[in-house]
């Protein structure tokens, strides 16, 4: 075989590394987790409200609810702020300013999640405890921190889709006598809807997947949160907290929690890819 052929085959094989890794991850998480779901029964695993691993009861419904509320809270905080920042970067500042702002937002993405968690723990938690009562370690604190953490995802993808619009959209609206804001609100934002929705879904995926920051500020009680001031536990934090000492069925139950998480994030990702209709970069 010629050198050219060898290199071509080599690159071909290497190119399959990411999809193979994805397949390996799916295989091993499922192999460890699925037997337990069969044993307990999918229904009582997903909808059971009792999580007492030492007594053999594995119901992750409180964690599903916890993940859901924290993620909804994060979106309420992050989406308006993120889309506003994207509009700000594209429409309200001259390029010279956005050149400075963009790296700053990238930095927001690069700050380790434990730093966010720490900030939540020493700033937000006491603030919430003193101002609103409750333990402070709460859905509210988690939502606020996650809302900030998903900003870079929402801002960068929304900004890309706003910038991808043809100039003529804006010129047309302005020449019809619309104000700049009317152009943004009625023309530019609706036209880049698919990109913005994709950014929100990817932000959602990031929020659901966050672990360490949430362990630090959610309080981690296995309970259905009754209000946003209650402590809660998410799917990820359940794994993160108990994986250190779990054995046997308990450990398999954590992998089973991982299976649920894997399905949720894969679903969100596929949905985002489908909606944006093109690859995110």
């Amino acid at each position: 075989m010629s050198k050219e052929k060898i290199f071509e085959k080599g690159f071909f094989l290497v190119a399959f590394s990411s999809i193979s890794i994805l397949a390996l991850i799916a295989f091993f998480i499922f192999e460890e987790g699925v037997p337990l779901i069969w044993k307990v029964g999918a229904r009582s695993f997903l909808l059971g409200e009792r999580w007492f691993p030492s007594q053999g009861s594995f119901g992750i419904f409180p964690m599903i609810v916890g993940s859901f509320w924290v993620t909804v809270g994060a979106l309420i905080v992050g989406v308006p702020l993120g889309v506003a920042c994207a509009v700000f970067l594209c429409e309200l500042t001259p390029p010279s300013v956005s050149i400075v702002l963009r790296p700053t937002i990238q930095l927001l993405a690069a700050i380790p999640s434990v730093i966010y968690g720490f900030w939540g723990l020493i700033v937000l938690v006491p603030l919430i405890r003193n101002a609103l009562g409750g333990p402070g370690l709460s859905v509210l604190a988690g939502s606020l921190v996650l809302g900030i953490m998903i900003l870079p995802t929402i801002i960068s993808i929304s900004e890309d889709s706003l910038r991808a619009l043809p100039r003529t959209f804006k010129e047309g609206a302005l020449s019809l006598g619309a104000t700049h804001w009317q152009t943004i609100w009625r023309v530019l934002l609706p036209a880049s809807r698919s990109g913005i929705v994709a950014s929100v879904i990817l932000g959602m995926g990031r929020a659901i997947g966050e672990t360490m920051a949430m362990i630090m500020i959610l309080g981690n009680a296995v309970q259905m949160p009754g209000s946003i001031l209650d402590s809660t536990r998410t799917l990820t934090t359940n794994i993160g907290i108990e994986m250190g000492y779990a054995t046997g069925d308990h450990r398999q139950a954590l992998f089973a929690t991982g299976v649920v998480l894997f399905f949720i994030t894969m679903g969100l990702n596929t949905l985002a890819l489908f909606i944006s209709g093109r690859r995110r970069t």
Partner: protein, 278 residues
């Protein structure tokens, strides 16, 4: 009825407020840690071994652990990522195969880090018998940063004008010669930016590392030693309330490291854009 000019003023005011509060929160987060932590940093803190679980002493072994894990991750992920990008851009057209590869890469980018941790634990730590070690942790990190490296390398390769390839082929260069002598040398600044982003992610990662590299404070002696990174150390100090003072100091060191990596990446990108654009 509110005039459209008034509503424009209100809306723009809100957007300015949103942008500035984002900036303000970011500065708050950084300053909160830096103001308390920076005065505690000293050469001894960086070079001393942690003692009493980190209550006293420094963070030397965690710095070594961070560097070692990151190095393993980069050494493994860079060739795989750049190879994938080269294949996608230089060896194949857009089609079913490239769609499958891209889908895999995008999905891998969306997998939560705790899942990578679980995978690394069953696969590297247990099945391949590497134990909690630098190698297990580094390999797990490599799988996590692969999508980032693929994306940035692909963009760097895409930015190379088509005429470069035409010239190379016209001079009788083969495909591999074109890749090795024209494409890769020109794409290096972009590839390096991606690698730095991967370094940043490795340095900041916690969840996956605790499950695969352990959290030993001992000085690692080989690739098979367990270790603790700066992020993990920071997390344990803060969460278990071992020492808030040391937590602040470690956090400040971590932020400085991330700032340095990010600044370098941006500077490279800026220089590169200027060169290509000019």
């Amino acid at each position: 009825m509110i005039s459209r000019h008034t509503s424009q003023r209100v809306a723009k005011g809100l957007i300015w407020a949103a942008a500035f509060s984002t900036l303000a929160v970011m500065i708050w987060i950084l300053l909160q840690v830096l103001i308390e932590g920076l005065p505690l940093l000293s050469l001894n803190f960086f070079l001393d071994a942690p003692r009493q679980m980190g209550r006293t002493g420094g963070i030397f072994s965690t710095i070594v652990g961070t560097l070692a894990l990151t190095a393993v991750a980069i050494v493994i992920a860079t060739p795989l990522g750049v190879g994938t990008a080269v294949y996608l851009r230089e060896y194949t057209r857009e089609g079913r195969v490239s769609r499958v590869i891209r889908f895999g890469t995008d999905c891998l980018a969306g997998v939560p880090s705790i899942i990578f941790g679980l995978f690394g634990f069953v696969f590297f730590v247990i099945l391949l018998r590497m134990g909690w070690s630098i190698l297990s942790g580094g390999l797990t990190l490599a799988t996590m940063i692969l999508p980032t490296i693929i994306c940035t390398a692909e963009e760097a390769i895409m930015a190379i004008p088509y005429s470069y390839r035409e010239v190379s082929f016209a001079l009788g260069g083969t495909r591999w010669q074109t890749v090795a002598r024209v494409i890769l040398p020109n794409a290096i600044p972009g590839i390096f930016t991606g690698v730095l982003l991967g370094v940043g992610r490795s340095v900041g990662e916690t969840a996956a590392i605790i499950l695969t590299a352990g959290s030993s404070l001992l000085m690692p002696t080989s690739l098979f030693s367990p270790t603790r990174t700066m992020s993990v150390h920071f997390y344990i100090l803060a969460r278990e309330g071992i020492s808030m003072e040391k937590a602040y100091a470690t956090g400040a060191a971590l932020i400085l490291l991330i700032l340095a990596i990010n600044t370098l990446a941006n500077w490279l990108l800026w220089r590169y854009v200027r060169k290509v654009g000019g």
